[in-house]
Symmetry: D2
Subunit: 321 residues, 4 copies
C-alpha cells in the first residue's frame, strides 16, 4: 500500500518517469511508416485533470496510410494526381470512413472511474483495465477545480450551468475530499494488507480485493490501455470534445484532439476540424429556411415545421438572433 | 436441379408463396409490443430488381421502444411530458443513437452477388447466407433494365452517366444473358447432379459444389437472412439510399426506406427523413460563407479556403448557382 | 428525492409492480414466433442480490429461428430430415455461431455499479443506462450476504477464498453500510434538490448532478436496458456463469442461464450446457497425455511439456488426483 | 487495359516488385517495439494459390505488448515474476482474449472473389477493397491445381472428397478457363476502354464499370487491405486453417499461421498451436465417457447420450477406434 501523502502527487512517480525515460532512450530501426512528431511525445504522460494523464504508447500508420487505402494500391482508375490533403478532405466530407480505419493508436490513460464509465460506451476499441480484483487501487481521487463547481444547468437537463458561491464550493470540496479519504482509509482497513502483502492486523484475515473495492467512490482514478483506430478515435472526439459532453471527459478529448491527433495525422486533423468539429448539420426543413432567407425572404418559424428550440439553434448557427 | 425455364420466374415459386400464406394464416397471442402496419406485410416478398425480394420475417420493438430507452424507465429526471415525436426528433438531431439500437428487424433478402458484396460492408448486422458449398444455386441472374444501361459517368469517377445507344444496349444484354446462361449450364455440367441427387452422366463423379460455383458470374442471385438494429439499418439507408450509391443496391435501400421503415417506426422514419436523408452537412468554412451571404455580403470562392468542387456543391445546395 | 427508509425495499416499489401488472394484462395478436414459456415471465422482475433484478422486456426468435437460419430457407441441399435438437447440437459443437445470432433478447437490469463495470466489457450488445447526469440515483446499495464475506483467495490471485470471522464480518458490514449511507446523505446535500425539484436549502444553488454523483460508491445500484443476441448472450454466460467470475456478476448470469435461457430456447440451452458450460478444452499436449493413459500407459508430468498448475487441473478434470 | 498474356503472370509485375524493393530499402528510427523477424518479410509478397499473395504492410505490437496489457503497467498485484511464455499460455488457456487485442497487423491480400466472400464473414476487422466501380479489374482468375479437383464429399455435406478422374478433370479446367477468358473478353468489350482511357470502338460509349463487372465470374481475383488485431486474426485462423474450411481460404490461413504469425509473435503462436489449433473440446457427456474409460470401465455408446457421429469422432480423438 502507498504510504505517501494521499492525493498530492503529480500524475507520475519518479520511478514511473524513470521507466519512461528508459523507454525513450532506446531507438530501433524499422521499415514501417513513422511519424517523428508523434515519436517526440511517445510514452510521455500528458497531464489531464488533477491526477490523470494520457500516454501514447504505440501507433500504426499516418496520413499517407489513409491515402494509400483510399487509392488501394495498384488500382489503375484512381492513379490520377490529386494532392493528399484534397483526397483526405474528400473522404472526410463524403463519410468514406474505411480508409481512416487503417491507422491505429494505443494509449495508456489514467482517469476517474465516472469518466471511465462514459468512455467505455465507445465499444469499437480494445481495452485492458487495471484490475481491482487482482490489485490494490492507489489513493488518488479527482477533486474538481473551483471553476468547475457549477449548479445544474437550467437550459439543459443534463450538464452544469452557473458557478456556485464560494461558501457552497468550499463545502462541496470538503465533503468530496473527506468522504474520499475516509473511503480509502476504510478500503485499506478492509483489505488489512501491508506493503509486504502481510496482514496489518494479525487478528484479521482481510476482505477479498474484489469486495473491498466497492467502498471506493466514483471519483477514484483507474487506468487502462485503450487501442482504437483513427476513424473511431475521431468519432469519440466528435462526441466527447463537444460542448455537450461532461467537462471531465472533454478534458481528455481536448488533449487527444490538440496534442495527439494533430501530431499524428496533421492532414486528417485539419479535415476533421473543418468537416466535423466545426461543421453543422442542417435538417431538410432547416435547409429550406436558409435557402428562402438567402433568396431574400423574411422567414418566420410558424409554418416552418421547426420546433422553437431547434429554431433558436438554427438562427444562432447562422448569426441571426 | 431446376428444370423450369431459366430466369423468367417472378421472385417466388408457387410453393414458396403457399408457405408464406400458411405462415400468415396463423396468429398468436403475445404481451410484446406489436406493429400492425408491419404485420400486414410480414413474410410477404417485396419485389426488387428482376428476381430479387425483401421479406420482413421478424421484428422487435417500435417507436415506443425508442422513447422508453431514451427515458430509461423509472428515471425520475426525465419524466416531464414531452411528446414522443419531439423526443425522437431530439435524439436523431443530436446523434443520440443508442435508443434506436433497442429495435431489431430480421429480413430475408434475395439479391445479386455483386450487390451482396457491397451490402456486407455493413458489419454491424447478423447474417446467414445460402451456402453454395452445401447447396446448388438457382438459375437466376440479374439483367439490368434498358433504362439502367449507362456509360461511365464523366463527372464522377465511380457511377454511371448517360444512357448508351440502342444497338450497344442490345449487345450488352445479349452478352450478359448468353454468358450467364452458359455459365449456369456449365455449372450444372460440372456438378453432374440430377434433381434426385444422382449423377446425370454415370461416367463422371461430378465436381464438388464449393468448386463448381466459381464458374458463376457476379450477377447470379444469392439469398440470406439479415438481422440489424434500427440504428444500423438507418446508417445503411443513409449510405445506400443515396444518389452516389450504385443503382442496384439503392433499389433495395429504397424498398426498405419506403415500404418497411415507414410501416415499422413511422415517427423514427419521419425524423430520419428530415435529419438524415434530406439533411446536409455544412463544413466550418461552408458555414462561414453562408453566414456572410446571409449578412448581405457578396462572397467569392477565392479566399474562402473551399475547393471548386465543394464550392459548386455548396452553391447548388443553397440554390445559388 | 426518496424519503423512504433507505436500502430496505425489495427490488420494486408498489408503483413499479402495478406498471408491470398493467403491461401483463394486455395481450396482442402477432404473426411472429412466440415463446409462451418466456411470455409467462415477461416484464416480471427476477430478483438478484439484495436490491437487483433482471426483467425480460422483449425478445425475438426461438429455437426454430436458429434452425431456420442454419437451413437458410429454400436451400435445397440441406432439406433432408434431421431433428432440430440434433441440428442445434451440431451447430454448437462445431462453433457455427451465426444462426444463434438470429435471436435477440432485451433485458431491464438493476445492478451494482461495480458489476455494471464488468458487464460492459461485453461489447457486442446494445445498452441504455439510467443517466445520473439527467436524473438522481436512488438510495440503494449492495451489501454482501454474510456467506459472501470472504478473504482474498490464496490459490487464485483474483477471487475470494475462506469465510472471514464473525467479528471482522460485522465490522465490514458496518463500514460498508455507514459509508454508503453517509455518501448518499452527502449526495443529497450537494444536490440540494427536493422532490419538487426546488432547493431544500434556499441559500444554496446545489451542485450539478453530473458532479454530485462522483461521491457515490461503487456498490450503489444503477439500471439499464441491455439487448443482446443469443450467441453473445451465451458467450456472456460462458464467462460469467463460470466459477472464476466474481460472485456478484455470477448471480446475474445464473438467473439468466436458469430462468431465462431455458424458458426461451430450451433446445439451445440444453446444447449450451453440454457443449459449453459443462465442456472442457483439452490442449494438444493434454490430449496426448490422455490418449497415452487410455492406452494403459503410466504418464508422468515430467517430459509432458505441461506446467504443474495445468497438470493438476488436467488430472482433476479426469478424476485422477 | 492489360495487353499482357492473360493469367500467366506470377503474383507481381516487375513494376510492383520494384516498388516493394524501394520500400524495403528505406529504414527509419522509431521508439516503438519492433519485430526484426517480421520486418525481414515486410512488404514482400508471400504467394498463395496461382495468382494470389499476402503482403504484411504494417504491424503494431509484439509478444511483449500482450504481456504488458495483461499485467497492466504499474499494477502492483501482478508484479510477481512469471515468465512471459507462461503468462501467454495462461491467457490463451483461460480465454483471456483482450490482451491479444493490443496487437494489430495490416495485410495486402490478393484473392479470388469466392474466397473474399468467405473472408468478410469475419467482421471484426478493417477492410479497403479495390473498387471495380472506379477501376478495371485485371485479367487474372483462379484455376485449381489438378490435386484439388475433387468430387463432393460423401461423408460431409459440404466440402470435397475423392479426386475426380483425368478426363473429367481436363474438362473441368477447360470449362473454367474458357468461360473465364470469354467473360473477361466480354468485360473488356462492354467497357470499350483502351489503356489510354479512350474508347476502343469510337462508335460505342462503353458500359459503366460498376455494371460491366457483373459479367466476371467468382474465380477472378480481387485485392484489399485487411487490418485485424491479433485476437481476431487467431479466431480467423482457428476457423480457416481448419480441415473443414474450403481448401482455397485454408491456403491463405496456412500462410498466415506459418509464415506470418510465427515470425510476428512466436510465443503467442506457440500457445495458439497447443491451446487452439491442436486442442479438442470435450462435451460434458464426452468428458464423462473418458473419465469412466480412464477408470477402467468398458463404456458403450448406448446410454451415453452421445450421437453416433459424435461418438465416432470422440473415439477417433482418443485413438480408440
Amino acid at each position: 500500500m502507498t504510504t505517501v501523502e494521499a492525493n498530492v502527487s503529480g500524475p507520475l512517480t519518479p520511478e514511473q518517469q524513470a521507466e519512461i525515460d528508459a523507454l525513450r532512450a532506446e531507438s530501433r530501426a524499422t521499415l514501417r511508416a513513422t511519424v517523428p512528431e508523434l515519436e517526440s511525445i511517445l510514452f510521455e504522460a500528458l497531464p489531464v485533470l488533477d491526477h490523470g494523464f494520457i500516454r501514447v504508447v504505440d501507433y500504426m500508420g499516418d496520413d499517407a496510410a489513409v491515402v494509400q487505402a483510399a487509392r488501394v494500391s495498384y488500382g489503375r482508375g484512381t492513379k490520377r494526381a490529386r494532392d493528399d490533403q484534397g483526397l483526405i478532405n474528400y473522404l472526410m466530407r463524403n463519410w468514406h470512413t474505411s480508409p481512416f480505419e487503417m491507422c491505429e493508436i494505443k494509449l495508456h490513460v489514467k482517469l476517474p472511474i465516472f469518466v471511465a464509465r462514459q468512455w467505455v460506451r465507445h465499444r469499437m476499441a480494445n481495452l485492458n483495465e487495471y484490475s481491482a480484483r487482482y490489485s490494490i487501487l492507489d489513493n488518488e481521487f479527482y477533486l474538481p477545480d473551483r471553476e468547475q463547481l457549477r449548479a445544474q444547468s437550467t437550459e439543459n437537463r443534463q450538464g452544469r450551468g452557473d458557478l456556485i458561491g464560494d461558501d457552497e464550493a468550499a463545502r462541496v470540496l470538503e465533503v468530496l475530499r473527506e468522504d474520499a479519504l475516509r473511503a480509502y482509509a476504510h478500503y485499506e482497513e478492509l483489505l488489512n494488507e501491508g506493503a509486504d502483502g502481510e496482514p496489518v492486523d494479525a487478528d484479521r484475515q482481510g476482505l477479498a480485493r474484489e469486495l473491498a473495492r466497492m467502498n471506493l467512490s466514483l471519483n477514484f482514478y483507474t487506468q487502462w490501455y485503450w487501442k482504437v483506430d483513427l476513424h473511431n478515435l475521431m468519432h469519440f472526439l466528435r462526441l466527447r470534445a463537444d460542448a455537450h459532453a461532461q467537462y471531465e471527459i472533454r478534458a481528455y478529448a481536448d488533449v487527444l484532439a490538440e496534442q495527439v491527433l494533430k501530431r499524428w495525422v496533421p492532414m486528417t486533423a485539419s479535415a476533421f476540424e473543418n468537416y466535423r468539429l466545426g461543421a453543422v448539420q442542417l435538417s431538410a426543413r432547416g435547409l429550406e429556411v436558409v435557402r428562402r432567407m438567402l433568396a431574400g425572404e423574411q422567414v418566420a418559424r410558424e409554418g416552418s415545421g421547426i420546433s422553437p428550440a431547434e429554431w433558436r439553434e438554427l438562427m444562432a448557427t447562422f448569426g441571426r438572433e
